[in-house]
């Protein structure tokens, strides 16, 4: 076995037996998983610590890190190791005993590494970034670090507005990791050989497309707190930084031997990313905009990957990953291949984000236990009017038809996801959620009794809409906590009034974390001191309800004299300079603004395969943007144009 255990000697752990025995799930900290990579340190030039700032079980479930881990470790001169947030029980011990945070593979302190890469998947992990830095004995603010500290890089979706955490990073990698990391590492080696400083390296990094070095820019503010200017301080600092995009998704890095954790993780299965990007253009969705254009991986590539990954891991489950699987042109072929090839070998096949139609019902009946599984719809809004506002092309008719077909095939559980607090939302729209749930239940009871499978169970969940950068709603005001809670109560009462209320369960998401998410999603550099303040008060693991402490956060904002409402409840003017305007994601500001205007007029925009709306992603010269089209402007790709 070349890729693992080629060094047979027993590793020493960073933590003593006593510590490991006294913390929850010690396997989080020992490494050594099957397919983890052990390299001889004397043969590598670059040590890279890749961090997901949340607990092991969450971090290990992330595909992006597995891709980067595999890519780096294919390079002989580079050794990539992993680090996750120590759970609060170990956090306390590390502080008390002065044990520096370590990487899982070598168990060496993070401080020894050349790079510390941190993936930014959600705003609520920001204090965990500070925890990682602090426990590694790396100064929180980049400006306070020396040549002895690793270079700290941020990447991932939240890097599309890096400003609230800009002060903590040496640079941000904007966009997809497959493209220029090699260049960055080569530059690092050259720089090191020439005995140049970190500062000189960062100035060089700034010349590479997609790299944002915050120390080379200075924001200035108007009296009202809005951004006045964002000024480059160095000739290498670009005024506009374009994200990196991997255009050859069938000929790039992908982990053929993913790590196999010992303990159960959130995503405990093989993950096959079938495509990147989305054609839908839902106006609330950041992923749908920043990953444009949609690019598919070829069917043959995916078949081969699926086989290799299942064989190299021994996992008993494979899941397809994408923003909207039904839009993948070879979906039927791929799914039938997986069923034919692996179902008989006891392998489960998960098909998330599928539109309900004859095909998906047929496949799901084959791969799931109908009695136990439930169907999921994400109408996001209760009324057709509001669904038009958010450009969610899912009509009531389609939902009811899908539900009815599913009920007739034997399902009796339906989950529905909605958001409250969407722009222009009225009481009628909220009521629409209750009515829709009731209608679905009605569909169930309209089928003959002998064909029914007991009672129907409808679960409606609402979350609190948070406007995100690079979406048409980036200018919109977020609803207030009070208004959201009122709507929640109103919905609860309205559901209770429905004829079929006994069949409907309602779950809601807590408003407090969403407000904070709203602040950091569209925040600016002034927020870094709030983060440090809250962290020093003891805030970590804010994404975990049991550790989230809203009072400490409120105090931190107050002490730093920062208004939450300034960031959340203010509608931005068209001409306002937004903190993330220096980033170019392909999709233009003009397109987003036009979409915002259309949303107010309740006008929908067709998806990319139906019609090109000229969003700007065409600049990358590939994916759906260059597919052949007929006279009506419809894409001819594989002849499978989706209906919605």
């Amino acid at each position: 076995m070349a890729s693992q255990n080629n060094l047979k000697k027993e590793r020493n752990l960073a933590l003593s037996d006593e510590i490991l025995m006294s913390v929850e799930k010690p396997a989080r900290y020992i490494g050594g998983e099957y397919n983890s990579v052990m390299k001889d340190l004397s043969t590598v030039d670059i040590r890279f610590a890749m961090c997901f700032p949340d607990v092991y079980e969450v971090g290990m479930s992330h595909l992006g890190i597995q891709i980067i881990y595999d890519m780096f470790n294919r390079w002989e001169d580079t050794y990539c190791e992993r680090v996750y947030s120590p759970w609060p029980d170990l956090d306390q011990i590390l502080r008390k005993e002065h044990i520096p945070l370590f990487a899982l593979e070598s168990q060496d302190p993070i401080k020894k590494f050349d790079f510390l890469g941190i993936t930014l998947q959600y705003e609520m992990c920001y204090t965990n970034i500070l925890q990682i830095l602090d426990l590694s004995n790396i100064p929180l603010y980049a400006i306070d670090r020396t040549e002895d500290d690793p270079i700290v890089i941020g990447g991932g979706p939240c890097a599309y507005n890096p400003e609230p955490i800009a002060d903590f990073f040496d640079f941000f990698y904007l966009g997809e990791a497959e493209t220029v990391y090699r260049k960055l590492l080569d530059l690092y080696k050259e720089n090191k050989a020439a005995k140049k400083s970190k500062k000189q390296y960062l100035e060089q990094v700034a010349t590479i497309e997609g790299m944002y070095v915050p120390s080379l820019y200075k924001p200035s503010y108007h009296k009202d707190g809005t951004l006045e200017a964002f000024t480059p301080l160095h000739s290498n600092a670009k005024t506009k930084i374009r994200k990196q995009v991997e255009m050859q998704l069938s000929d790039t890095y992908y982990p053929e031997r993913p790590l196999v954790p010992y303990i159960k993780t959130v995503q405990d299965r093989v993950v096959l990313e079938i495509q990147r990007g989305c054609i839908r253009g839902c106006r609330f969705c950041q992923a749908g905009m920043v990953y444009r254009p949609i690019r598919e991986r070829s069917l043959d590539y995916l078949k081969e990957l699926a086989k290799k990954m299942l064989e190299s891991t021994g996992q008993e489950e494979i899941t397809l990953s994408s923003l909207s699987s039904s839009d993948y042109s070879h979906l039927e072929e791929l799914v039938y291949y997986l069923i034919d090839e692996f179902k008989g070998k006891g392998i489960n096949i998960c098909l998330p984000s599928l539109r309900i139609d004859a095909f998906s019902l047929n496949v799901m009946a084959k791969v799931q236990d109908i009695k136990k599984s439930s169907l999921t719809f994400a109408p996001e809004a209760g009324s057709q009017r509001l669904r038009d506002v958010i450009n969610k092309g899912l009509s009531e008719e389609v939902i009811l038809k899908g539900a009815k077909d599913a009920f007739e095939s034997g399902w009796n559980k339906v989950k529905l996801y909605f958001m409250l607090g969407l722009p222009t939302e009225t009481k009628e729209d909220v009521k629409g959620i209750a009515l829709l749930c009731n209608e679905i239940a009605k569909e169930y009871y309209s089928i003959p009794k002998e064909k029914r499978n007991g009672r129907v169970q409808i679960t409606a969940s609402t979350s609190f809409f948070v406007p995100k950068p690079f979406t048409p709603f980036q200018w919109a005001a977020m609803d207030s906590k009070e208004s959201y809670q009122e709507k929640q109560q109103f919905l609860k009462d309205t559901i209770r009034e429905q004829l079929n209320s006994k069949s409907i369960r309602y779950n809601w998401h807590d408003a407090k974390t969403s407000v904070l998410e709203g602040v950091f999603a569209r925040g600016d550099r002034k927020l870094s001191k709030v983060l440090v303040n809250a962290y020093q008060k003891g805030c970590i693991f804010d994404a975990w309800t049991e550790y989230f402490d809203p009072e400490k956060w409120e105090e931190a904002f107050k002490e730093e004299n920062i208004s939450i409402e300034f960031y959340t409840q203010r509608e931005r003017k068209k001409e306002e300079l937004l903190p993330w305007d220096f980033i170019d994601v392909g999709v233009t500001r003009t397109f987003l603004w036009n979409q915002y205007e259309l949303s107010k007029k309740e006008q929908v925009t067709l998806n990319c395969r139906k019609h090109c709306s000229g969003c700007g992603a065409g600049i990358f010269g590939g994916g759906v943007c260059t597919e052949a089209r007929n006279e009506e402007g419809e894409s001819l790709y594989s002849g499978s144009v989706t209906v919605l």
Binding site: M21, A27, I30, Y262, E311, T313, G314, N348
Partner: protein
């Protein structure tokens, strides 16, 4: 066709629990390509069972699992062992395998789990000076003397509180054998020194600290955990100690033969009668 697999669990893997060990082996067997049998039903699972769960923190050279195969094509034991050992990570090692013919129609299938009757353990103090009495270190000689005395009692009662009632249990009859050295343990239980060496191969060596070798009742009828014996001993003598002061190592698991004596879960006769593919 059923096979019984013996393996060691040591080093960093003492920190993973029994359920995770099962998950690990399910995946390892899939990777190995061994033709394991699956249960019937909508979500079939591998037919696999473990002899006795091992607690977190304990190392072992005497773990067993039974798996059911649909077919197999190994001509030698080594091929079989290699095939599985290629799938192990640092801390797992397969040491032995035997095959069992399918039971005859009127014969009951005896799983490792149902057969287990006793287990051997080696317990070692992690530091020679971690047991105290009245704040002074209890010397190893003193510990040994006290332990002999402890074991010479006719009964060793412990209180066991269940939901319904308080119960007094006598531990003594379930402690089948004890020694302070491997030599003595080997003699008492007629195990060859070579064999003993294999049984404590992956036990961590803490130098010249106090060690006890114990044979305890194990399995479904009466299962005595070694820490229960040690805690009872410590309490009786008023000794104090830090948490996790003893490293436990399971050396072997036993079943009873027709004469009611203990034989390892893979016994000599089974090794000799192993069936290979032709």
């Amino acid at each position: 066709m059923r096979i019984r697999v013996k393996f060691s669990k040591y080093g960093i893997l003492k920190f993973i629990g029994h359920l995770d060990v099962m998950r690990f082996f399910q995946k390892a067997i899939r990777r190995s390509g061994i033709d394991i049998a699956y249960s019937k039903g909508f979500s079939p699972h591998q037919i696999m069972s473990f002899a006795a769960p091992l607690g977190i923190g304990i190392t072992s050279d005497g773990e067993y699992m039974d798996i059911e195969l649909s077919s197999y094509d190994f001509a030698t034991k080594e091929e079989f062992l290699d095939c599985l050992n290629r799938q192990m990570t640092e801390g797992f090692f397969i040491t032995d395998i035997v095959t069992f013919p399918d039971p005859k129609p009127n014969q009951k299938k005896e799983t490792a789990m149902s057969q287990v009757a006793a287990a051997d353990y080696k317990l070692s103090l992690k530091r020679f000076d971690c047991v105290l009495k009245n704040k002074t270190v209890v010397k190893i000689k003193e510990l040994q003397k006290c332990f002999l005395e402890f074991m010479n009692q006719e009964c060793i009662f412990i209180q066991k509180n269940t939901k319904k009632e308080e119960q007094l249990i006598d531990l003594r009859p379930y402690i089948f054998s004890y020694s302070f050295s491997s030599n003595e343990f080997s003699e008492k239980n007629s195990i060859s020194l070579d064999e003993i060496e294999k049984m404590e191969l992956h036990a961590t060596d803490y130098g010249d600290t106090f060690s006890i070798y114990l044979r305890l009742a194990a399995g479904s009828i009466k299962n005595i955990k070694p820490e229960l014996v040690i805690e009872t001993f410590m309490n009786q003598y008023g000794f104090t100690h830090p948490d996790f002061f003893i490293q436990q190592h399971r050396m072997e698991l036993y079943k009873k033969d027709t004469t009611n004596s203990f034989i390892p879960l893979i016994c000599q006769k089974e090794k000799e009668e192993m069936i290979y593919a032709e």
